[in-house]
Symmetry: C3
Subunit: 395 residues, 3 copies
């Protein structure tokens, strides 16, 4: 075959249309099975892919979110009043905010020498020779001076150390917990932006009248049922929703904890953006309440000058930390995912033929009428008889 | 049919090759339609899937990112100079940093008793019997002592409360805003790591000469046009890019705000990694400027000892918070997504046959020449005539 | 054809089953090729898609995570002992925590007038006329008063400025680094929650006996080999794993840095959840050690009242910042992804036919026996001879 013929054929053949040859089986049983399988596949696609998964939508799952928090409330403590500046930390109002529930003070610490705590390994001593000068025990509080001294106003002796004196374990003053904390509120302002769809939404109730909002925000407390669009949350409500007993956080273990405040945005932007509203959920994030290091606490100090020397009040604060976590998902109709899903649906219908072929050749094709017509054997050598059993091998 | 025959057939049949039978339609119209549809599908795949979506690339969308920020600049305030330690908080240089624009001071507060603010519900009184001892109003400042006292140096009376005295609303001293803040700069160092591709990039201009960089970083300010690789941003520039009027942030509402600094890395790692450079965008993240709780402010206190008593200066600080948000996406050629996309493309070409079969049997197949040859009817009972109308049902 | 006939055909045709006609080629070579290609495709799917990619699992890649950190250790500094309250910041124990390695103090700063640093542009002067009153140099420290004064106790003169005096560059006192920091430990508690699967896991070793854990957590240090489930990390270990020389961080450049602590959860929830355990990795996150602004430092101040005036100690702290970054991935068997992957696998087998058809028609079909039987030409006009060359066009 020369080049001339090749080109001629090429040009002729190019504009031909090819389509598979099909055998039409006039068998009611098979027809019903085929249509049933087809119906199942199509129903699955329409229901699961299109309706449930919204595969016709372009989606955005990582929106830009901004959180601002502000704590409010006051607690009474004997003659002392604690306001937000005292118990809320950090003060800058980011997406992690903690409130103090209980404090342990060590007053008037200064750089000095004093007795090590008796629980620290090798700290108990009777003479100076029991204490190695310069030694630092990792679980201890400072560097040993090499002297053995009386343990504050007790009768036994421990090694003297150089540290912030007096040590916390000895001088600590435990405050009762702030029971009023259950009524503290946290204002959470969250705005969310879906850059792909240029939609910006906030979690504060819409209203035409500015005064109305102001009045509403001054007195409302979030409640899933009665006030779903109020962004002010009572700590007690948060703890209850996270299935934590508030008084247990305060008293029993008294160790505080970390609670996640989840703001979930699930927006179908084929509807009006005003339908795009957040839902809230609450869950305790730390676990292992029975561990020695469970709960949430941190230490900080207030420094001041006393008699010209730097002095500090060490505060060990047990509290609740709120981690505000925003999840967002938005979807909007877009032609390309629609086309892709439709094409996938159509090609998936092909699975029906595989199933029905298997049924036909195995159960229905008694006299090999169908297989004879479906399969056209071509051989250079000789012909075999052919039956349905072979079909099993394809699958 | 015995087992012997079955096995014989199985072994013979296993090495047979099966291929669909095809009808070649020598019809120029249909051929043109078929090739056009095929051309569209293939063009779509090459353009959209391969070129636009880069489906031949393996991608990484959640890189590891590290942000370090440092504020610079000084503001003059009467006789006082504010430097970065005074106005930038928190000081640790993370991905959220705020600068103070305006401060409201309440000096010399201490734990004491004083008059409640007259705006608080039920705070106005004429005699002691109007004030319930021990009562705490949530929007108030502390616990009522049960006495009715003169409201500071005014003529009317309010209930006395136990709190940090004097109360903020009465004693507040409002500072004028820091107009120099428009010239404050924030240095943002961002490095990004794509673990899948082992690529590490930073946002600071490359240069052979260390001295050159040092000199450049000492004087450059980021500008999209003239200095795209300088990591030092003027606050005024950031506000302008976020379409905010800086003086409005300072004066009019004077409530500050939250601005997002977005660092976008879109890296095609099939090119040299040096092409992988960030772009910046800026957007105001909080909304609802007209709400009572709009803007960005927080309160903190400076503590000191006065006459042996703990005293504090309460500071309500309005400011700008910058949230630095990093988005990263990197792609690199990989055989597996290429194969998957190619196979998908090839199977999608099958959609052409469905369309063209429909056209052929509906519009072109006048004399049922094609349908007669395409469809081979098999029936155990009798034969029906068959025509194109039936084809509609498949789709 | 009337409506009556149409409906009759429609109803008859609807329950027909259609299946493609197939040509069986009894050719051993082609059969072997076909089965080999099929074997490759099926092997790829089983191995890559099902075993390696676990496509039969529903997966969750963005779990809810909570991190709590606590630093421990003490450092000796001449007569001063630094404990965690002094060197760890911020104190609240979030997912970013830094420790100070080296401090530079500027003591007793107060709002005053003093000489500008001589390195600042135009700061050197001989007479008052060299200094413009009210000028603020951006790289300088404050506002010029218009006087030319002696540079502290030196012989040359610079412009006087109004600022926190004395300026840092002149009065700075550099402390030696905290060599003990190598033995500081950071306790990292991480809990992770996969909401889709309702699985909650923590990174602390499980044990039946509370006392056992307490004793273990009191003395263990994380080590990949010997203590993989201890959540307490030595700073020296972290630096070594991040391939950083700790003493270089302290001394040589002495500029600190940012190190990422990556907690990776890869959970196959088809197994028991107790197999879901984290692995840790460490990597330096900042780069460009040779840049002037490399490393990690921040400034903060301690305020106190001296002779009735607000005075501060400015501290420039070089340190290590640890960014704790949690990655989580969980997968669990689910019928829908399994069906989708299986269907995709089955349709992908169709690619074998395309390859083998091409081989058959190009290399094996010498006498056009196969193409004659495979292709059935239909034309209204005339018939062309048809050969394998045409097949190339389909691909």
């Amino acid at each position: 075959m020369g080049l001339h013929n090749f080109l001629k054929e090429y040009i002729h053949g190019f504009w031909d249309y090819e389509t598979p040859k099909v055998m039409v089986v006039k068998n009611r049983t098979l027809g019903v099975i085929y249509r049933s399988v087809q119906f199942l596949v199509i129903t699955y696609f329409i229901w699961y892919v299109f309706i449930s998964q919204k595969a016709y939508q372009e989606s955005e799952t990582r929106p830009e979110s901004s959180v601002y928090t502000l704590m409010k409330g006051s607690a009474i403590h004997g003659d002392e009043i604690l306001d937000t500046v005292e118990y809320a930390r950090p003060s800058e109002g980011g997406d992690v905010i903690s409130t103090i529930l209980r404090r342990e003070f060590t007053f008037n610490q200064r750089q000095d020498t004093c007795a090590e705590h008796f629980n620290v390994a090798d700290a108990n001593c009777t003479t100076d020779s029991d204490c190695v000068e310069g030694e630092v025990n990792f679980n201890g509080h400072g560097r040993r001076t090499g002297r053995c001294v009386q343990y504050y106003n007790h009768t036994f002796k421990t090694c003297e150390i150089q540290t912030w004196c007096p040590i916390e374990e000895y001088a600590v003053v435990r405050e009762p917990p702030l029971e009023e904390a259950i009524n503290f509120t946290v204002f959470i302002r969250n705005s969310i932006h879906f850059p792909k769809f240029k939609v910006l939404r906030g979690n504060i109730k819409d209203a035409r009248n500015k005064r109305d909002i102001k009045r509403y925000l001054n007195k409302c407390h979030y409640d899933e049922e009665s006030d779903p669009y109020c962004p002010i949350f009572r700590l007690g409500y948060i703890a209850a929703q996270a299935r934590e007993n508030f008084s247990e956080l305060l008293f029993h273990s008294g160790k505080g904890g970390v609670i996640g405040v989840f703001i979930n945005w699930k927006c179908n932007l084929d509807l009006d953006p005003s339908h795009c509203k957040p839902t809230y959920s609450f869950r305790r994030l730390d676990l292992r309440k029975d561990l020695p290091d469970a709960g949430y606490y941190y230490r900080f100090a207030k420094y001041y000058s006393k008699d010209g020397e730097e002095t500090r009040t060490l505060i060990k604060a047990y509290g609740i930390r709120l981690d505000i976590i925003v999840h967002g998902h938005a979807g909007k109709f877009s032609p390309i995912p629609t086309i892709i899903s439709t094409v996938t649906a159509m090609t998936s219908v092909g699975i029906c033929t595989i199933i029905c072929d298997w049924i036909m050749l195995t159960f229905i094709d008694k006299n090999e009428v169908y297989s004879e017509r479906k399969f056209d054997e071509v051989s250079n050598k000789k012909r075999y008889s052919f039956s349905a059993t072979q079909f099993h091998l394809f699958l």
